[in-house]
Amino acid sequence: MNGELLGINPYRILAMLRRHWYVLSGSWTRVVELIYWPAVQMIMWGFLTQFLAGKTSFVAQAFGVFLAGMMLWDSLFRVQLGVAISFLEEMWARNLGNLFVSPLRPSEFALSVLLMGVLRALVGMIPVSLMAWWFFGFSLYEMGFALAAFFASLMMFGWALGIAVCGLIMRHGLGAESAAWGAMFLILPVAAVYYPVAVLPNWLQVIAWSLPPAYVFEGMRALLIDGVLRTDLLLGAFALNALYLALGFAAFMGWFEASRRRGLLLGQGE
């Protein structure tokens, strides 16, 4: 009995998580970096919100909307970036050849980087959310179950984009590395993080509603401003996430096979 389920061996995934744990535990600067950027953003948005709360009644009534939006958006971005960085670690190390001649399957490799994406995001976002409570008296955790649902939905979309980016970099080499940092920002204008979808022109609204983050951030505003948990929005987000995850995995596997056809797994790196 080797513990495999659907051809996935959890021990090999754990081996890859151990590999990434070694990287993080051996470099405190990497851990600090995971917290640093979200913390700077949170502090900036916190003071901006404090300033605006004194000027407009809307912000005064829903003080945490911008802070929650910022922290949830950063969670999404950090999950996607964490997935891509975990993959890039293997590219930078020229280690893909060693990994893919071992019993590790591409699907197990993909699952390991997805899990690392979440872990890296949590390492950054949990301290930052506590700092928001400490500095500005805003607790993200007051959203309760909804926060878990929002985070899960954003995590799935971060996974979908992150794993597709991994495939893209594997196929096109480190020349495509900037996609790891830039891909998510392509959707920021239509993700409705800080403003509702309704302010967008009609044609952009169509694009916004085709992406799960718009559902999550509209749902977040409905909860924080109106006190309503919009399950319809959550369900829409999860349904779209299932589609994007399937597409992300298909893209990764397609690019993996293309890399095998072109001999790119041996010797890629800096």
Partner: protein, 256 residues
Amino acid sequence: MSAAPVIAVAGLTKTYGSAAAPVVAVDGIDFTVPAGGVTALLGGNGAGKTTTLAMLLGLLKPTAGSITVLGIDMLRDRHRVLPRMNFSSPYVDLPHRLTVAQNLRVFADLYAVPHPKDRIAELARDLDFTALLDRPSGALSAGQKTRVALAKALINKPELLLLDEPTASLDPDTADWVRSLLETYQREHKATIMLASHNMAEVERLCQQVLMMKQGRIVDRGAPGELVARYGRQNLEEVFLDIARGRGKAAEQATA
């Protein structure tokens, strides 16, 4: 009755580029590797050695042909056979920021090696790098890296070991030491080793079979001594030069 070959390759072909202008890297090669010996793939740069090894490992998809490794169809079921083989190459590396022990532990876990700490200690002893176990892999010299890469390749006690230029960039003393280690491993574990090398003395010392490649094809094969005798030369290096430069026996074969 002879034992089944550990590797059986038929019509193996790899082309790159478009159908209109294909670049043929490996051109329909056939060979078998018997169990329990050392076989060399020889050839100049670009002859197709690394491409062939990459296809044997499943890292590269052939355009045509079949590969059977340890009785298993590599193109359909490579994940069934990968736990029983391993590989080392100067073209891949181990993560520099991890220590030697950490890197070996990760691969021990990937190969489901029982008692990984004991196995790592044993390899460190055998390959003489116990003092390096806690050092970052990126801080090792070329010779130390080769020994650690070899430890990674031996971590699962592979039945089939594929090596790409196992002694490249090593000083003669370390290279000799590595060859002795490979001989010992092969003998003690009755393993099969296939290596690509540019070092003819190494091949003459280690190998029972040589496959000579040129422009993606196997142009000759045999035991090192047989090849030397057949070409009427003093050593394998002279045979290699005959084949690479298309002279002597190689030229006769080409025009035959």
